[in-house]
Each structure stands twice: as structure tokens, then as C-alpha cells.
């Protein structure tokens, strides 16, 4: 069970949250300038390290905010929690 330190509610159990998927890098601002291959990469290829990933969690059964957390894929350690993206 993860313990996510919500900036509003304090440390709360994972069961209060819904998983929102990996936090994508920002959408390219000038679509026309991006090659097809880079678009496909942006859409389908997430970082998959044995290390830190950024992901989105919704405090659905708490304050309702969307958070971004930085979590280790081997230890589950959470090194950062921030509001929004």
C-alpha cells in the first residue's frame, strides 16, 4: 500500500486514490513541426526505468485534487508529490 502525502490532506492510503497513468511529457506545442515517428513515440513509449517514474494520482476519495508523484519502480519510495502536473 502506498502512502501518498497529499498537499491538502496529509499522508493518505493509496486506496483513497485512483491511478491516472504515467505523467506524459508535455504535448508538443507545434504539432506540425513534429515528425510522425516522434508523435508515435510521444503517444506510446513511456519511460520504463528500474528507478523513478512520474505518475498521476487522483485523490478521488479525499479532496479531489489531481497529483503528480515521483515513485521508484523497485522500492515504491515516493520522492515527490506535487499538485497538478
Amino acid at each position: 500500500m502506498l502512502l501518498i502525502d497529499c498537499p491538502f490532506c496529509g499522508p493518505r492510503n493509496e486506496s483513497e486514490f485512483s491511478f491516472g497513468g504515467p505523467a506524459l511529457t508535455p504535448r508538443p506545442s507545434d504539432p506540425a513541426a513534429v515528425s510522425d515517428a516522434d508523435w508515435v513515440d510521444w503517444l506510446t513509449v513511456p519511460p520504463n526505468p528500474m528507478g523513478l517514474v512520474e505518475e498521476r494520482w487522483w485523490h478521488a476519495r479525499g479532496c479531489g485534487s489531481w497529483l503528480t508523484i515521483c515513485r521508484h519502480t523497485v522500492t515504491h519510495e515516493i520522492t515527490e508529490v506535487r499538485l497538478g502536473r
Binding site: M1, L2, N13, E14, S15, F19, P22, D36, A37, V40, D41, L43, T44, V45, P46, N48, M50, V53, E55, R71, T73, V74, H76
Partner: protein
């Protein structure tokens, strides 16, 4: 090449007379050479099956299988052995139908007792969305020779007497059930050992305790071999069947792939008298189970959602699975649980497998097998074909990496709770 010692009732009897001291090792452990025609990384189900079909179907035996730990110690030994073909897409169903059929004949093919048991899987449906999903699947599966049959709730309760929950007053009353008669379970160790033994007898070299730490590329960018703590091993063709660690390895050669590594878990109860003779799958609640020959209930649930390279079970997933189980099988509250575990696997962007050439000439990947135990025979044969000929066979052709480039996904997510 060595002669494979055949197993039979007679050979058992003969060796019993010699107090079972005369058995030959099931596979050879030859010294590691520095060059092979092809290297397969990972001695799990897919790697070993590919080695076997390479030798058998394509006559290619100058092959090394390099395994980080021990043979058959990965997910092939950590899964819930549900073998089924109730998929959803025109691309998937024929592949899984073939794999299930190959599994049915594997004991004879490998001369190794798979303890194969055609169990039938029963899906317990508790929402109208799921009922519609199963109808839709049934119509597509009919085309490709797989089977789903609707049965009413009374018939479900007759077939699975222990299923006493889900009544009319419950949170999610059972609406119906779908029966998939092709489903089977068998012994996972036998799959790994059987393929290893048969491949080794034909001359394939299996090297345990030989982790690959880096992929090597030549000046032309093509694959040249691999780095291991036991030295460099060279080959013009390197196939990865490392389940969960595909990107860990491809990134050493600068190749990124549309895969996320996730954790999947299971647990077993103490052994009890026969209580369920089918595989029960409850997709709305997120739990499935079957009873092993030893009498243990083998129980699995949903994946842990975020990326994870862990091999244990997460408490929240465990609790969710147990509460789903008890909602439908309240009497199981008295069962003691004996062991729980997990495995890490990779899942592609569209949740279908990847058996494909890559942008690096000579590098082949077999990945995205988050429910790929059932796929070991056909996936292994497909990987072997790709290694031997450089072209995919028709059954695995839809699972190439090109589909991402062309945005031509084979979306198979959420097939069932059972993998």
C-alpha cells in the same frame, strides 16, 4: 547431440529396480562458447519453447539460451497456469486457439507429463456491460473455432456449488455466466523442463547463471552479441525473451519500446478436498481461481496499476482480491492462505504481445507477455520462425512493432481478470 532418455511407465519401473540412481540429467550444461549462430536471452517459457522449435522445425541448433538465474525460475513458474483462447480481436483469437491446441498435444510432443487438465473456464457476469462484452466475444470467437456458451444462473450454481454469493440482494447480483470449454491448466515446471530437455537433446546449449548486462552493436549498428559477467558472447541474431526486462536490455543499445513493466500477483490456500472443478473467473469483481491437483485453491486478481519491477504482492491488491473472493465464496473465509507472490511483466501500449524484428538489425524481441503462459507454444514457435527466417509466421505477423508506427493497434486490454 545426445540421445534423449525417454520417459514412460516402463522406464520408471526399470529405474525403480536401480533405486532411481540411473537417470540421466534432463539437460546438458556444456561450457559457454564465445560465439553462436543465435542467442536467446531468457530461459522462461518463451525462450525455451523458441529454442526447441528452432532445433525441431528449422534445424538450427547452434543456439545458446542465456539465463540470469535458473531455468524456469521466472514468470513461467510464478503464474496461475490458465490456458484459454477467449480473446477479442481477429488478430488474437487464431493465435491463441493454435497455442491452446499445441498445449493439448505437448505431453506427447515433448515426452514429458504436463499434467494437462482440460478444466473449462466459467465467467461469472455481474454487470450488463460484461454480459454484452461476452456476447460480442462469443460472436467473434465463433468465427475462429473458439467457444463461449451462455448458461443461466441456476446452471452456474449447479456447476459451482461453492459459489453462494452474488444473490439477488447482493451488491452485484449475478446475471449470467459464459462457459469457455477450451480452457485448461497444467504444470508450469513441466513446461519449462520439458522444452529445455527436448531442446538440449537436439544440441541447444542452455546456460544458467549467465545474466546479459548489455547488448553489443557493431560499427554498422547491427547487433553483434551480448555482454555477460562470464564474458562476451557473439551472434548475428539475438532474441530477447526476458519478460519484464525487455526495455532494461534494449535501452543498453539505445532502443526504446512501447512497454511498461507491471506487477501481477497470486496466492494459494491450504490444500482442501475437491471443491471447484472448473476455472472460475469473476471479471466484474476482479478475482479468478482454480483448484490444483494438490487441492490448493490458486487465486489471482488484478494487476498493480503503476509500473513496478517487484516480485511481491502489494497489500492493497491482496485485500481487494480477497474481498472480491469472499463476496462470491463466503465459505472460503475459513481457508488458510499458505503463500503469496508476484512477478513483473511488460505490457505494450495496446496490451497485445510484441514478437518482432526491431530497428536494430539482428535484434528480435518477444515481449508484452503479461498473460503469456497460454501463448508459450505458439509464441515460441513464432519467435523461432522469426529467428530462423527473418520473417514472421502468419500467426504472429499482427504482433510486429510496426503496428505502433502505423497506429494500427490490436487492443486487447481488460480481456478477463484471468490472464
Amino acid at each position: 547431440m545426445t540421445i534423449m532418455q525417454r520417459y514412460s511407465a516402463l522406464s520408471l519401473l526399470r529405474h525403480a529396480l536401480g533405486s532411481h540412481r540411473g537417470w540421466a540429467p534432463a539437460w546438458q550444461s556444456p561450457p559457454l562458447r564465445d560465439r553462436y549462430q543465435a542467442i536467446i536471452v531468457g530461459a522462461g517459457g518463451h525462450g525455451l519453447a523458441a529454442a526447441y522449435y528452432l532445433a525441431k522445425e528449422h534445424g538450427l541448433t547452434d543456439v545458446a539460451v542465456l539465463e540470469a538465474g535458473w531455468l524456469g525460475g521466472g514468470n513461467v513458474a510464478r503464474n496461475t497456469v490458465t490456458i484459454r483462447s477467449n480473446y477479442m480481436r481477429d488478430e488474437s483469437i487464431p493465435f491463441y486457439v493454435k497455442s491452446v491446441a499445441m498445449f493439448d498435444g505437448l505431453t506427447r510432443d515433448l515426452n514429458f507429463n504436463m499434467m494437462h487438465s482440460k478444466r473449462t473456464m466459467v465467467d461469472v457476469l455481474q454487470t450488463w456491460g460484461m454480459v454484452r462484452d461476452r456476447r460480442r466475444r462469443k460472436l467473434i470467437m465463433d468465427i475462429y473455432g473458439s467457444t463461449y456458451e451462455d448458461i443461466p444462473v441456476a446452471e452456474l450454481r449447479r456447476r459451482v456449488p461453492a459459489l453462494t454469493g452474488g444473490g439477488p440482494d447482493s451488491r452485484l447480483p449475478i446475471l449470467g455466466a459464459a462457459v469457455h470449454t477450451d480452457a485448461a491448466v497444467n504444470r508450469h515446471d513441466a513446461v519449462a523442463w520439458g522444452y529445455a530437455r527436448a531442446a538440449s537433446a537436439m544440441g541447444v546449449a542452455i546456460h544458467q547463471q549467465t545474466p546479459v548486462t548489455r547488448l553489443l552493436r557493431g560499427p554498422d549498428g547491427a547487433i553483434e552479441g551480448v555482454e555477460t559477467p562470464r564474458g562476451t558472447v557473439r551472434a548475428k541474431t539475438v532474441a530477447l525473451a526476458v519478460s519484464g526486462h525487455t526495455t532494461t536490455l534494449t535501452e543498453t543499445a539505445g532502443l526504446r519500446l512501447p512497454l511498461r513493466t507491471i506487477n501481477l500477483t497470486a496466492f494459494v490456500s491450504e490444500p482442501v478436498k475437491p471443491v471447484v472443478d472448473v476455472i472460475v473467473n469473476c471479471p466484474d469483481l476482479g478475482v479468478y481461481l482454480s483448484q490444483s491437483d494438490k487441492g490448493e485453491l490458486v487465486i489471482g486478481g488484478a494487476t498493480d496499476l503503476g509500473q513496478s519491477f517487484r516480485r511481491d504482492i502489494k497489500q492493497s491488491v491482496f485485500e481487494d482480491t480477497v474481498s472480491a473472493l469472499l463476496e462470491l465464496f463466503p465459505a472460503f473465509a475459513r481457508l488458510k492462505l499458505m503463500r503469496q507472490w508476484g512477478g513483473h511483466l511488460d505490457m505494450a501500449h495496446d496490451a497485445s504481445p510484441i514478437v518482432s524484428m526491431t530497428d536494430i538489425p539482428g535484434l528480435i524481441v518477444s515481449a508484452g507477455w503479461w498473460g503469456g503462459y497460454k501463448a508459450i507454444p505458439a509464441g515460441g514457435a513464432g519467435l523461432a520462425h522469426l529467428i530462423a527466417t527473418g520473417r514472421p509466421d502468419p500467426l504472429v505477423a499482427p504482433f510486429g512493432l510496426n503496428r505502433f508506427r502505423n497506429l494500427d493497434y490490436v487492443v486487447e486490454t481488460g480481456t478477463t481478470t484471468a490472464r
